[in-house]
């Protein structure tokens, strides 16, 4: 809507401290969604080295696993993917009109589960470096 004066971001994202569960779920879902889209490109890039020959593919993967940053990124990717999946399930229920009264609880549950799974995965991803 047109404004006769500028209230700036204050009205929307400047108020993030006042966001409620549903809004946070939306923001995080969008964010993780875009991260996953970005990942898809690197994923395809890495996979396409297999079109050269098996050796190149193995070498690429092994090389990447040598980089500490990549290991951390993998943990991040897992967190992002898990949250997106869990919140996706929450949204499925929202779309089916089931348990809308507990959508905020479902969001917090998704967060807690994501955190737990991510922490549990750290030994696997960072181990043997």
């Amino acid at each position: 809507m047109s404004q006769s004066y500028d209230r700036g971001l204050i009205e929307d994202f400047g108020r993030w401290r006042e966001f409620s569960a549903g809004m946070w779920a939306w923001v995080l879902h969008k964010f993780t969604g875009w991260v996953l889209v970005g990942y898809l490109f690197t994923h395809i890039a890495v996979l396409s080295t297999a079109t050269v020959d098996g050796g190149t593919y193995t070498a690429t993967l092994q090389g990447l696993e040598q980089v500490l940053v990549v290991r951390f990124l993998e943990v991040g990717l897992l967190a992002v993917a898990v949250f997106h999946i869990l919140n996706g399930i929450r949204l499925l229920f929202v779309d089916l009109g089931v348990g809308l009264g507990s959508q905020d609880v479902a969001f917090y549950a998704a967060l807690v589960l994501t955190a737990a799974i991510t922490v549990a995965s750290i030994p696997t991803f960072l181990g043997g470096f």
Partner: protein, 290 residues
Amino acid sequence: MSTQIPEQETETETETDAEQESSQTRRVSAERTRAGMDQRAEDELSDADETVELKVFRYDPEVEGKKEPRFDSFEVPFTKGMTVLDALIFARDHFDSSLTFRHSCRQAICGSDALFVNGSQRLGCKTQMADLEWPVRVEPLPHAEVVKDLVVDMEHFYDQMESVEPYFQTEELPSGELDEQRQDRANREEIKMSTRCIWCGACMSSCNVAAGDNEYLGPAAINKAYRFAMDDREGEDMTEHRLNIIEQEHGVWRCQTQFSCTEVCPKDIPLTEHIQELKREAVKSNLKFW
């Protein structure tokens, strides 16, 4: 009140205020001079056990000193059961009679005093000062054009409400001339919550999608559509007509289930739930033609 905007609701408001002021005059029978006003404020403040600070948004494009938006602070004596609206009324009647805001019923039924209080859309008359963090910050509704102080232009909101044809229409009249058009209890229950809307605009103001898309019907209008689309008495053809309206490009499908509207609705209408249900109805009615 110096409001000169030729709009219906502003005019009504001016009347209400005038009325109120005259009764105020009768009640206190003090001379309404500036000194008298200040004196009264001072007395009441010193009598009070507790005072609360109110930070109120001020803006008036027609007044020289108020062209730049700013916040004014008012110290108001706190009384048990005091609402945000009560505090605003105190500030207006004791400190600055040009402080402008809409109100009428003071009991959450007229829908004229939706405000942005401490960062969230609430009805002034339904929000207890005791429940808020102090100092209390009062602003006009976001995503609407401010006319003056706390008064925003509601025209766009009303347009969206009108566009869903918010009235009962039916082709299925009962056969006997004196027959009543009955609704069964289950159906009444289904639409019960949706009938409670008081057109306050809080939901529309809280919605991020509505803020970015001016044509989006918005939660209140969709809820209105739900109220009639779900009403069995309207008959199938009418329901289909209603679904066509809410299904258009800027209709239900814009909703991204952020739950902001449901969160702020002062009448506790499960708006997101209704929007979701209409989405499903829309899909169902389309699948029939396959």
